[in-house]
Symmetry: C2
Subunit: 414 residues, 2 copies
């Protein structure tokens, strides 16, 4: 189609009164329905755990109940003794770790990070909440590219080696938000062994999608914590996760894992700030996941059965619309919640604007970069999980026309 035809088609979409949204990284109601028994599975006489803890009272420890540490260790590939099971938000747990790092330092810090104008490596495109958090905490962000194998490891090695103010890397190792890329074994090994100028270089791995496979056979996914321990760097890695996209969003359980030697340092800090997390909620999750057919794995398979058709439809339409053109590239994730789409021309913000005109909400252009600025103005995050299948198909069709129209406008103007 030429520019005029594309504009006409866009006008038709505008006239049709659509109200579609593919910007939100949220489960669908159908996903939530799988976990409905979680709400009322715990009965009022079921307040003593198998380990003998009365979940109504304070004692039980800052790490959460042992049954939850055991159950959720599977989610992060950690030992139960390496787990801290918290309240509902892994983002809050990450914030807390970064706050303490600034105020006190991490285990091997010569001084509190805040005294050094700390810098943090982040991967781009990446997760906007990581960027806004780091900015608010006063970190200078040093972006490196997220490749199909994980963070651009040569850039990370070079940066970490040359600058002692670089205190670590903060990223999503499995099914990255938004690219869906997963770190390779080789990159993971180089990350846990790299020669850093800072003695307290820390890998903060937001493993939010560690069990969110779309493939039946996801293969072996590298575990940074285990690799770091094997490499003799047990204190370098802190893993985070949650059940926000396993059970309920903001109604799940936040998780953290680190080596036991590292935990010795951190538990002293955590125990200053809380007597412990909500144990009733943890016990509820244990009861629910233990009775779910196939347990955690069974639940994730049932999620995949809902989500995979949405990814498949999105990818199918992108192929139909753009295969053989020079207009765009996109990722084909094997898990997670997002597809990363790149326009060949610097028109992402124009695409988002056009889509909004046509009644389709996309993640704001630039959101996947620190400060909200994509230097190429090309990345668009597609979140196909929340809407019903039919709405996704329609939204992606509309978006595709916006990409073509914005690209044609650009070509005409340049």
């Amino acid at each position: 189609m030429n520019l005029t035809e594309l504009k006409e088609k866009h006008a038709q979409y505008q006239a049709s009164g659509l109200n579609l949204n593919i910007q939100r990284g949220q489960p669908s109601d159908e996903d939530f329905d799988l976990s409905l028994p979680l709400i009322d599975i715990l009965k009022r006489d079921d307040y003593k755990t198998r380990s003998g803890i009365d979940v109504r009272n304070y004692p039980g420890g800052v790490r959460g109940i042992p049954e939850a540490c055991e159950l959720f260790s599977e989610l992060l590939g950690a030992e139960p003794g390496e787990m801290v099971v918290g309240n509902n938000s892994s983002l809050e747990m990450m914030t807390n770790v970064l706050q303490w790092a600034l105020i006190k330092g991490v285990k091997n810090s010569p001084q509190p990070w805040i005294r050094e104008t700390p810098k943090m490596i982040v991967t781009v495109p990446g997760y906007d909440r990581h960027f806004s958090l780091l900015e608010t905490l006063g970190f200078e962000m040093v972006p490196v590219e997220m490749t199909a194998d994980g963070p651009d490891i040569e850039a990370v090695e070079r940066l970490a080696k040359s600058d002692p103010q670089i205190k670590g890397i903060y990223f999503v190792p499995t099914y990255n938000n938004p690219t869906g890329d997963t770190i390779s074994e080789d990159v993971a090994k180089r990350l846990v062994t790299l020669d850093a100028a800072a003695p307290d270089f820390t890998i903060l791995a937001d493993d939010a999608y560690s069990v969110h496979h779309l493939d039946d056979n996801p293969g072996e996914i590298p575990n940074l914590l285990q690799l770091a321990k094997s490499a003799g760097n047990p204190d370098r890695v802190i893993l985070f996760g949650s059940t926000s996209k396993v059970t309920f969003s903001s109604g799940g359980i936040g998780l953290l894992a680190m080596s036991e030697s590292n935990l010795g340092y951190w538990l002293k800090l955590f125990s200053m700030q809380t007597i412990g997390p909500n144990k009733i909620e943890q016990w509820r999750h244990v009861r629910f996941l233990e009775q779910y057919p196939g347990g955690l794995k069974g639940l994730m398979r049932d999620h995949a059965a809902i989500i995979k058709p949405k990814f498949d439809a999105t990818l199918r339409i992108l192929n139909e619309e753009f295969a053989g053109t020079d207009l765009a590239t996109w990722t084909e994730p094997r898990g997670g919640y997002f597809i990363s789409f790149n326009t060949a021309r610097p028109v992402a913000s124009r695409v988002v604007e056009l889509a909004a005109e046509a009644g389709v909400s996309l993640t704001p252009a630039g959101a996947t970069y620190p400060g909200g600025v994509d230097p190429e103005n090309s990345n668009i995050r597609i979140a196909p999980t929340r809407p019903p299948l039919g709405e996704i198909e329609e939204a992606v069709r509309v978006m595709a026309n916006c990409v073509k129209l914005a690209s044609a406008e650009y070509d005409e103007a340049n």
Copy 2:
């Protein structure tokens, strides 16, 4: 009794194999039983709040669900629009506020607190977790006496006026831990209006016992937040509270209240660290407290019916043992969880040691002072809420003998 007789009686207690504990500020199982329906009151189809929020998904806001803000505003005497309803721990919310204050400052801070080697006024005797938290965060503590009318206001005024590094006061305004004292209207007014050298002087009021009355007619208790707003200092006060001793301990809801003008500043920070608290748990609390006979007030009356006899018995025995002697003084709280007991001689640590020999656990001597050191070695915190009535009576009898024995030992040696 003379020293020999006291020693004999102590030996008898030792031989009788007691195992009693009056050190823990915890509700009893009978208290917890009042809230058992909270565990399973929410049914699996009850996931949409009256305000239209699906508690299974992220959206709903960082302040918690409106129904919880409304319900719990009663607990802190605040407007619903001044509330932040969190997860399970008010201590964690206090920590978070202090962490941000150090890293970014409070609303009116010229710079982050950490740049100034900040000092914080605390009241003694006071709550050990406040002291250990402040110490870990790097605050220098400046203790002032907790009087029957609240913090020694003349000392607070003098300190705040003279030293810009003094960033505020952190204390328990209602039924203080451990004295049970409540701030008077006059002291509260002077606190919210005092002339501070620091422009960002902040009153952190841990109102953990705001509705924990033992009297049927507790009278009017001053509200620091409302007084601060009336006095034109709306940003000076932050109130904290929780339902840890209303519903379940570590299984309740943490609360914070501040003026709406102040919230504007803080919500920007809070929204960086979490999408929001666990809304399902909040909705559960709303459903439970709304159906409880008499609501929150009714539940607190039922708690008082369990707890008051324990306080009465403790005070009766203390009177029987010590009235007319020069050995000890103690407080007679009208609410809260503790009785503060002072030996006339510097023997508190010896009393705790003797009591342990006789099978009675008391709060470690000094715990009610910063750094764990009571300069008078006289304060003992009695926590009568957790054990059954009979055990409390026995434990207080044993403790009384230990006080007499330690005092007699002291008199003989001096």
